[in-house]
C-alpha cells in the first residue's frame, strides 16, 4: 500500500502501468483519476488551491486503505493526492486498486474514493471571476459513503 500527498503533477498512465508491474498474480486493475474542472456551481473556475492537514492527511488515507484491504482481497493499492495550486485540466487524485479478479478491484476503488471524499482532510478553494471561494461539502458524497 502506498499513500502519497504531493504538490507535483503525476502521469496517470504511468501510475496504472505500475499497478501490475512485478506481480503476475494481478488479474485486474481499476483506477480512478479526478481532474480540476473549468466550471463548477455556476462559475468558471480559473484555478484551485488545495489545502490539507499535514500529518492527519496521510494517517486518514492510510486508514481508508487498510479498511478497503480488510473488506476485499486486494493485491496492491495506490492513493496519490495533490495539494497546493492546480490549474483546470490537471489531475488531482489517483486511486489504483489491483486484485486477482475484477469485482474486488471495482468495489475497492469505489469505496476508497467515497471514503476519501468524506474523511480525508482536503479542502478546495476555487479561483473564480468573483474571487476565491471555498468549495462546499456535498450531501450526495456523504450518502455515497454511507452505502458501504
Amino acid at each position: 500500500m502506498a499513500v502519497r500527498v504531493q504538490q507535483q503533477a503525476f502521469d496517470p498512465g504511468a501510475e496504472v502501468n505500475a499497478m501490475h508491474a512485478a506481480n503476475a498474480g494481478v488479474g485486474a486493475v481499476v483506477s480512478f483519476v479526478g481532474y480540476v474542472r473549468d466550471f463548477n456551481d455556476g462559475r468558471e473556475v480559473a484555478g484551485m488551491f488545495l489545502e490539507h492537514a499535514p500529518g492527519m492527511t496521510e494517517k486518514a488515507l492510510a486508514k481508508i486503505v487498510v479498511e478497503a484491504e480488510q473488506r476485499w482481497p486486494l493485491l496492491k493499492v495506490e492513493v496519490l493526492h495533490r495539494i497546493g495550486t492546480l490549474q483546470p485540466g490537471e489531475p488531482i487524485v489517483f486511486v489504483g486498486v489491483a486484485s486477482a479478479h475484477r469485482q474486488a478491484a471495482f468495489d475497492g476503488c469505489n469505496f476508497i474514493m467515497d471514503y476519501l471524499k468524506t474523511r480525508a482532510p482536503f479542502w478546495k478553494k476555487e479561483t473564480t471571476g468573483d474571487g476565491p471561494r471555498w468549495v462546499e461539502g456535498r450531501h450526495s458524497d456523504q450518502q455515497a459513503a454511507e452505502r458501504w
Binding site: 479526478g34 488545495l50 489545502e51 490539507h52 492537514a53 500529518g55 492527519m56 494517517k59 486518514a60 486508514k63 493526492h81 488531482i92 487524485v93 474514493m113 476519501l116 471524499k117 468524506t118 474523511r119 480525508a120 482532510p121 482536503f122 479542502w123 478546495k124 478553494k125 471555498w134 468549495v135 462546499e136 461539502g137 456523504q142
Partner: protein, 81 residues
Amino acid sequence: MSVEVVYFARYRELLGRDGERLEGDFENVEAVRQTLLGKGPEYAVLAEQNLMCARNQDLCRLAEPLADGDEVAFFPPVTGG
C-alpha cells in the same frame, strides 16, 4: 489540563488563526467547542451543523473524550478528491 486547538480551511480564515492553546477541564471535544463558543461571537462558525473534528489527527465525534496534551482540530466538511 491543556489542549492544543487547530483550525483548517474556511474556519482558519474566519477565525484569523491556525489555532490556540486552551487551559481548563474538558471532558470531551464538545466541551472545548462550547468553551470557544462562549469566548465571543467571532467563534460562531464553530456552531455550524456540519462541523467536523479530529482528536490527535484522527476524525472523531464531538463526544470523544480528551486527555491532557491532546490536539483537537475543527474544520468544515472535507472537499478533496
